[in-house]
């Protein structure tokens, strides 16, 4: 009995000292919130984002923090569930009282959280891909990843240069594939593209030869575009080679811009082109490239700390965090409203995703130069020189 009582007192004392320490700390810290899909189906996106944020917040704090204040990072894992994301967003605002948020792994979770941050007037830098996040522009919502519309435009730009105008499309029916397909159909007329065949496949399908046979037998197809994500595009690429369609130029999307795609698709991936962020080809960029320094440094830091290959998704979190930190420095304040205004004024920020120039009408701030057109050669990426 006695030991129990002693334990209780010790615990109480401990709790009190913790509370005190917390109170004292609060003066010199600012809280940044984050809701990420660290587990669940989108974990391959959320995990590198989570690691990147933790890694760089520690680095920033070790270097003295932002404007003399240490950053306290509050991360919640929504498991890819939009309902949970919204609950956590409310908790960040009401309980943790964060001054800003960098997070929202998927478009689904981001859109569920947008109203919470808009109502609370707290800046929210999203890591989700779809254009809906920033179009129409919402006052407090920003994002760092390229949009699927830009990927379509980049592909069409390349096709136009090669004088190919009749294309076949084979798209995944998952959120990513469906959204990009819609965007491609929308911008196709602007580039004079004619979509002569439009096929789809389920995200878990294991054989796409039926759809590809249809495209192959459609008269006049000059190139094929495959908006998709995960293992689907790898299977499409393998089936493409199986059916002997290699004489028709084949384009993948930025959704497969990772080394594992080349591994999975194997020899079939030779000659495939895709738009991707500079991060992927950091070592191949010319020294004069403004992004060279940022992307090689991030790649090195991330890979040595996590022992895992770098991905563009972690890069989006890096960009989001530093856009916010720079804005906080310029605002020299922890007031959410002032920070928001400064984020919107971000100009010439060199991130892993591109050079960011935001404005009141553009809360993404990237142009087509953020994407590089790559071609897979000898099992590795190579930059497609403009004009070839």
């Amino acid at each position: 009995m006695k030991t129990k009582a002693t334990l209780k007192i010790a615990l109480a004392a401990g709790a009190m000292s913790l509370g005190l320490a917390h109170g004292a700390l609060a003066q010199n810290t600012v809280k940044i919130g984050s809701v990420l899909s660290v587990t669940g189906p989108s974990s391959f996106l959320g995990e590198p984002e989570d690691k990147t944020l933790r890694l760089y917040v520690d680095k920033i704090n070790a270097a003295g923090g932002v404007a003399g204040k240490k950053i306290e990072l509050v991360i919640y894992d929504d498991g890819g569930d939009a309902n949970k994301a919204r609950t956590f967003a409310t908790r960040l605002i009401e309980d943790d009282k964060v001054i800003a948020m960098v997070g929202g792994t998927t478009t689904g979770t981001t859109m569920a959280m947008v109203p919470v941050f808009e109502d609370a007037k707290v800046p929210f830098i999203s890591l989700a891909g779809a254009i809906e996040v920033i179009d129409p522009v919402r006052k407090f919502v920003f994002k760092t990843p390229h949009t699927d519309k830009m990927a379509c435009e980049k592909i069409f730009e390349d096709l136009k240069r090669r004088n190919l105008t009749k294309i076949g499309m084979i798209s995944g029916t998952d959120g990513f594939g469906a959204s990009m397909r819609a965007q491609c159909l929308k911008v196709a007329p602007t580039y004079g593209m004619q979509i002569v065949s439009d096929e789809t496949y389920g995200p878990r399908d294991s054989d796409m030869t039926a759809q590809l046979t249809k495209i192959k037998n459609t008269a006049g197809v000059q190139a094929v575009v495959n908006p998709g994500f995960g293992q689907g595009p790898a299977i499409v690429t393998r089936n493409y080679a199986q059916l002997g369609m290699n004489n028709i130029p084949f384009y993948q999307s930025h959704g497969v811009a990772s080394k594992s795609f080349i591994e999975l698709a194997g020899a079939a991936a030779e000659g495939v082109r895709l738009p991707a962020a500079a991060l992927l080809v950091g070592d191949k960029l010319p020294e004069s490239d403004p992004q060279k320094k940022v992307v090689t440094e991030y790649k090195q830091t991330y890979e040595s700390a996590t022992k895992q290959p770098v991905s563009t998704f972690g890069g989006h979190a890096y960009d989001g965090l530093f856009i916010l930190v720079e804005a906080m420095k310029r605002a020299n304040s922890t007031d959410s409203q002032k920070i928001r205004d400064e984020i919107e004024k971000t100009k010439g920020f060199v991130g892993t995703g591109g050079i960011v120039n935001m404005s009141a009408t553009d809360h993404l701030g990237l142009d087509l130069s953020a994407f590089r057109m790559l071609e897979i050669k000898n099992g590795d990426w190579s930059l497609v020189a403009s004009g070839s």
Binding site: P41, S43, F44, T173, E199, T200, Y201, G202, R204, S206, D207, T209, A210, Q211, T213, K214, N217, G230, Q231, A234, I235, R238, A241, Q242, L243, G244, S260, E263, L264, G266, A267, A268
Partner: protein
């Protein structure tokens, strides 16, 4: 003609995998009355263990064998630790247990292996075979041939061995089987081990074509279940026919109709069949037996 043949072979290849999964369902259902929703996880284990074993330098045939053994051990453990202790429970409870087991296995696979997709090299190269204008991967023949061997082996086992007949007797009437001296617990364990092995073989055969990851089992279990229902739950012939039919429906649906409604089309046909014959295509024999 070339187009038709392309769709046919695609459909048969995918269908053969569905058939093997459906066969796994059938074996366990017959022995225990349980619909084992962890069946897809055995397929995943077959692929994943082979991938990781061969990454460690184990030659492919040996890695495949290791994968089958691992899947069988897990199948037996599933029976011993989860199904057997709850043997008095209703079928619905047991089904829920298997769903829980599938979630557990998937989670463990995500931790033990990783969340990436993996591939295996095709057993006999990647050069497509040209068959009357249709390009066919050599691996497709492995899948079809492998499935045929498994089906044949299972048939011989069930019809021509004493142990196999004991399985059939347990399926027909468990109480009567016990009364004539058949140890039904052993038979059930055998069914779990056997269907785990069949699932693993399916996983190994198909991974070079479809790739694998820790969560491929869910959809395969669903498709395999649909195939088993289409053929008539509990009938091995029905499972094979149902699986092949489902694969063909998907391929021809995507090829000749619309790829967007491919799955809807396949399931619509299943619904119509089940409306017309609620027991499935080959279900009647089971009714007579029970």
């Amino acid at each position: 003609m070339a187009e038709f043949l392309q769709f046919l072979i695609s459909g048969l290849t995918v269908g053969a995998v569905y058939a093997l999964v459906a066969l796994g369902f059938t074996l366990i259902y017959n022995a225990s009355g349980v619909v084992n929703f962890a069946q897809g996880e055995f397929v995943m284990l077959g692929g994943m263990v082979t991938v990781f074993a061969s990454a460690l330098g184990v030659p492919l045939p040996l890695a495949a064998l290791v994968a089958i053994v691992v899947a069988m051990v897990i199948g037996l453990l599933l029976h011993r630790l989860a199904i057997e202790p709850a043997r008095g429970a209703s079928a619905v409870t047991l089904i829920i247990i298997t769903i829980g087991a599938s979630i557990l296995l998937r989670g463990l696979a995500a931790i033990v292996f990783d969340k990436q997709f993996h591939k295996l090299p095709a057993f006999t190269g990647d050069t497509p075979v040209d068959l009357l204008g249709a390009a066919i991967q050599p691996q497709s023949f492995w899948v079809l041939g492998g499935a045929a061997v498994v089906v044949l082996a299972l048939y011989v086992f069930l019809e021509h061995t004493l142990l196999g007949k004991a399985v059939l007797a347990t399926a027909a009437n468990r109480l009567a089987a016990r009364l004539v001296g058949i140890n039904t617990t052993t038979i059930m364990a055998l069914a779990f081990g056997g269907s785990a092995a069949i699932g693993a073989i399916a996983g190994i055969l198909v991974t070079p074509i479809t790739l694998t990851s820790y969560d491929v089992g869910t959809l395969l279990a669903l498709k395999g279940f649909a195939a088993a229902m289409l053929g008539g739950m509990g009938n091995p012939v029905g499972a094979v026919v149902g699986g092949l039919l489902l694969g063909l429906l998907e391929a021809f649906g995507a090829g000749y109709l619309s790829s967007t409604y491919k799955d809807a089309f396949a399931f619509l046909v299943i619904l119509i069949v089940l409306f017309a014959a609620p027991q499935g295509l080959f279900g009647r024999r089971v009714v007579e037996r029970v």
